[in-house]
């Protein structure tokens, strides 16, 4: 049996998980950019 097809998540999760992970990745990059911006003085200070 093809190893790839040995185990699968329910169809809903198969579709939604990679989409959410990509969105989280984009959000993380944005947050890091803002935080670095604050650290080097390009963005006004946070808390």
């Amino acid at each position: 049996m093809d190893k790839k097809h040995m185990r699968q998540y329910p169809a809903f999760y198969e579709r939604i998980v990679p989409v959410i992970l990509v969105i989280i990745g984009v959000i993380l990059i944005i947050l890091l950019a803002i935080t670095i911006g604050v650290a080097i003085g390009l963005v006004p200070g946070t808390a």
């Binding site: 185990r7 699968q8 998540y9 329910p10 169809a11 809903f12 999760y13 998980v17 990679p18 959410i20 992970l21 989280i24 990745g25 959000i27 993380l28 947050l31 890091l32 803002i34 935080t35 670095i36 604050v38 650290a39 006004p44 200070g45 946070t46 808390a47």
Partner: protein, 237 residues
């Protein structure tokens, strides 16, 4: 309401969450659990200080505790727990030493800083919420982004990375879902801070409130296996 009840609820949820994590630490050990427990206690202290300020007004000690635990340390200590979970022990230990030194330095800077509460009404803040603008002394607020950079990268990145690993292997669906919830929950306080600076009242407290709820649900989901039969049945549809 926004400045009292919500932070109070955040604090209660955080301390409840901390109790569950530390109970698990006592039963199973694991440095990551201890650090997550400490981090959620910091979250709870931050929420309590926000509640105190909303209910009873300005208090310098409360402000310093809020800034130290709620603004400076919470994300980094939570993230350090994830570092212990995912990284090699020697790297995790090295970062832990740096974090402890940095935390004591932050403690010294925050508790020796000069404060002016009237400045909280500037810079996009209404003055009714706690804000770092009250710190007059230089060299204090600049520490925050460095701690939060480390905390965000390790906590959000670590949870997303874990979810990706489980998804790629198609194992332990509950951990995939739990880690996604943790990653999303960890970003919400940061977004709350951004929206707060865009003159949206209560955004920070709302972000913290929703954030701790998602972190809590995510932790419970990740540590509670789903019934295999149910998962397999859904998968076959």
């Amino acid at each position: 309401m926004l400045n009292t009840i919500m932070p109070l609820l955040s604090s209660i949820i955080s301390f409840t969450f901390a109790f569950i994590i530390l109970k698990r630490y006592v039963e199973r050990r694991g440095t990551h659990l201890l650090l997550w427990g400490i981090g959620t206690i910091f979250y709870g202290i931050g929420g309590f200080c926000e509640f105190y300020n909303g209910a009873f007004g300005w208090n310098p000690l409360i402000f310093r505790l809020w800034y130290l635990f709620g603004a400076l340390l919470v994300a980094a200590w939570l993230g350090q727990g994830t570092v212990y979970l995912l990284a090699r022990l020697k790297w995790a230990n090295a970062m832990m030493v740096l974090l402890v030194i940095g935390s004591f330095y932050g403690l010294f800077k925050v508790f020796t800083a000069h404060l002016d509460p009237t400045l909280m009404a500037g810079g996009g803040h209404t003055g009714s919420e706690l804000s770092g603008h009250a710190i007059v002394s230089p060299g204090v607020r600049i520490l925050t982004p460095f701690f939060n950079l480390y905390g965000t990268l390790t906590l959000v990145g670590g949870a997303a990375y874990s979810a990706w690993i489980f998804w790629r292997k198609r194992i332990l669906l509950h951990r995939t879902i739990g880690n996604i919830l943790i990653a999303v929950g960890a970003t919400l306080p940061a977004f709350g801070g951004i929206f707060s600076r865009l003159h949206i009242p209560g955004a920070l407290y709302l972000g913290e409130f929703l954030g701790i709820i998602l972190l809590f649900i995510g932790f419970l989901r990740a540590t509670t296996p789903m019934r295999e039969t149910q998962t397999a049945k859904e998968a076959s549809i």
